[in-house]
Symmetry: C2
Subunit: 227 residues, 2 copies
Amino acid sequence: MQGTRETTAPPAAYTPTERTVPTRSPERASYDKELVHAILDEGYVCHLGFVRDGAPVVLPTLYARVGERLYVHGSTGSRPLRMTGKAEPGLPVCLTVTHVDALILARSAFHHSINYRSVVVHGLAHDVTDPDEKQLALDALVDHVVPGRSRDARPANKKESAATAVIRLDLDEVSAKFRTGGVIDEPEDLALPHWAGVVPLRKGYETPVPDSGLAPGTELPGYLTQR
Amino acid sequence: MQGTRETTAPPAAYTPTERTVPTRSPERASYDKELVHAILDEGYVCHLGFVRDGAPVVLPTLYARVGERLYVHGSTGSRPLRMTGKAEPGLPVCLTVTHVDALILARSAFHHSINYRSVVVHGLAHDVTDPDEKQLALDALVDHVVPGRSRDARPANKKESAATAVIRLDLDEVSAKFRTGGVIDEPEDLALPHWAGVVPLRKGYETPVPDSGLAPGTELPGYLTQR
């Protein structure tokens, strides 16, 4: 569609790089922004990797996405956040989010697998020092856990905000990887007497348990009954 | 109990090191072997961190525990497994397993949290080359996903085993970290009109979906009906 506006639309995919192209099963990799965003938005915890004294460190932590930026927060005393504040031009990190969707039981041990969706982000983490961006990130971190929740809680006061460090990681060098579908067995194994199939894992919430001493008349909010 | 056999029993805890003692919330850290084993045994996927060209890489992968050893497997072509084969005296890794148990919604944004249990293992990964240890690890990897399953599947043949690399990481420099319990709010916030409480996340299996073409008379095995 030469000359139409579509040709100047922002790219719908991240550009693959040497380290985001897998050495194995390239058909399970994707650079599609919509897919990457959906996987990121569904997770609660990411695994943040960084290098300390030459050795890798991988820590679980909450995160949130705002457009093409990820935010991670923590105490100003936590190691990766302290290290980010000192690193120029930023702290090299790898941030990974993984969902395990189902167990795949094949007739052969070798073809056992899981259905999963993961996103791996490489880049430099930067300290967020702008007060407006920091507030945006703190709201996003609460809304990431329960969409809409930040409007139904007391916002952080100055002391709480000062005790919290926020770092930013741009979505630039990014890939998704996934497995979907059913069992793949060798043709000669199909007649074996072993059960084979897909075992989906449970998702979502159990019934919320209210804190004791809620203010009189406080009902379970709609954002907790919708999934 | 001086002089009794108990005093020479193996230690029930890992020895803390500089990098397994958190800078924050030390009361949420534990070195108890039983707790560490339970967290590891409940997970499906770990996040394996290593350093490549000076930058961190964090990849999700299946794993299994046998006593005080963890095993990770993959294609012989996968990057961390290839790197382990070449690394002397082993590849520095950090292997982390995390369970998210519940969302904690406090009346204040600042006190929002999650209940979680995680284990972080630091150490050197080694290639498993002994055929018996490799077979033990491959069985454990299948049994880790579904206990008892390795006896109900065709074992790997020579070609499949040759295509699979296994690495070992000893449980030595290990810590667990966790949050349990309910909402912690500031006393002055308790009268605020916001709903607060614990939202447990669903765990376990949905109904297993059998593969098409199971051998006649193949029933759902007991190890899939028990949880």
